[in-house]
């Protein structure tokens, strides 16, 4: 777990030989991947293949059994609670259901993170930043709404806005289009691309939706049963003759 990897410059995330089990259930087998600081990497796979567990390991929500994960040059496995907390300000995470704090309005959701992580900002600066971010995700009109009043797509947009307000360097998207209709999914896909363009972030998008993968990916990885089955561009993967991979393209 503590072997020292060589991190090539420009890599936002570097994962070497990561394994993770829940009891007898081995969910991640020898995962190796690198994410450049300017790319969108899509991890594609069926449900239960360990995609979400992998990004939760990256952000330190799950502990991995062996291997090493470097995020922005920091070894996640050896960091204490307080250092990890500092690092997390640079990592955005969009949860599958948005995970908005249900007792707060959309504005308060954004303010909650901001008040605790950007104490140097005056309240007026915070308000301007919140308005700016909400406008960029198309939710300025929903500023004073409660999460229960938002649709599925709006919840994900609000969740993304809460992440963006901290100006992260890396964003991890957990199934960003799951449970959304095709039109709303398309909006979220476009949002992922515009966020990369506007905020200059690197990102990992975990999904089982090939359309999302095709639109948002600079590079793709296909996972199956906790292992990386294939990696490459959309066109590279399309040419591979494998039943599981063909299943995604068909």
């Amino acid at each position: 777990m503590n072997k020292v990897p060589i991190i090539p410059l420009g890599h936002a995330i570097d994962i070497e030989g990561v394994n993770k089990s829940f009891g007898e259930n081995h969910v991640l087998h020898d995962i190796n991947l690198k994410l450049s600081s300017d790319e969108n990497l899509v991890i594609l796979g069926r449900s239960g293949t360990g995609k979400s567990v992998l990004i939760k390991c990256i952000v330190g929500l799950e502990k991995y059994d062996s291997g090493v994960i470097y995020v922005l040059g920091n070894n996640i496995g050896t960091m204490d609670e307080f250092d990890l907390n500092d690092l997390r300000k640079d990592i955005g995470f969009l949860f599958q259901g948005g995970a908005l704090y249900d007792s707060m309005t959309v504005e308060e959701n954004l303010l909650f993170s901001l008040e605790r992580n950007a104490r140097h900002l005056a309240r007026s600066e915070m308000n301007d930043l919140i308005d700016d971010v909400l406008e960029s995700v198309g939710l300025l009109d929903a500023k004073f709404m409660m999460p229960v009043e938002l649709s599925g797509g709006m919840k994900k947009r609000a969740g993304l806005a809460r992440t963006l307000v901290l100006k992260p360097k890396v964003i991890l998207y957990d199934e960003p289009t799951t449970g959304l209709d095709p039109f709303t999914s398309e909006g979220i896909n476009e949002l992922i691309l515009s966020v990369k363009e506007r905020y200059k972030t690197a990102s990992i998008v975990v999904t089982h939706d090939m359309k999302t993968a095709k639109i948002t990916a600079d590079r793709m990885i296909i996972m199956e049963r906790g292992e990386i089955l294939a990696r490459g561009s959309y066109d590279d993967l399309k040419r591979i003759d494998n039943e599981v991979i063909r299943g995604f393209f068909n």
Partner: protein, 254 residues
Amino acid sequence: MFRERLYRFFIELSNISVFTGSTLKHIFKRPFESKEFVRQLFETGYKSFGLISLTAFIMGLVLTIQTRPVMAEFGAESWVPAMVLIAIVVEIGPVITALLFAGKVGSRIGAELSSMRVTEQIDAMEVSGVYPMRYLVATRVLATTIMLPVLVFYADFMALLGSYLGYTMHNTIGLWLFIREAFDELYFYDLLPATIKTFFFGFFIGLLSCYKGYTTNKGAEGVGLATNMAVILSSLSIFIIDLIAVRITEIIVR
């Protein structure tokens, strides 16, 4: 089967110890979540006054109505105020108030935190650079630790009023004389251990309810289970702490 249960019991015990350590660490770490702490004081304390008022008043009333005839038979009716007050201050007040508090506040905390856990709100806090242990747990544990003793004092007072009503159904006595007679036999060493143990009751109700809610992991079923276990463990801890407090007091007073 027994060995496995024993193993699971010790695992749970060690997890609770780690959780306690982390809670204490975050109680003393700065910046403290003072706004949330004040909100919790209001939620746990102020919102419990109605329930505590009614139950404590009835408790004092019923206790007096039931003991008065027996005391009258022995010609000791004038001892009723003192006897009822001692029973309430030393044992019944703290324990019954704590049990009510565990049911009302413990279940609320267990349900709230477990629901936040299954909807990934706690994870969201963690990845946003916020300490959920500080914001959610430390504030709630501190609030229950402070508010329960306040509620117990208030419950004692309400029970005394109930007792006065019960006593005056058969006797004529002024309220101030009744209170003076009640306090005649109450000593500092009766009050001190009873007060100290309520801080422990409050701490463990908050801690165990937070623990069950914070560590749930079974979806909607887990929310129900966490709420249930929060009340059961909190109630159980009240009796265990009470037993320990009685033994310690007995040793010290002797």
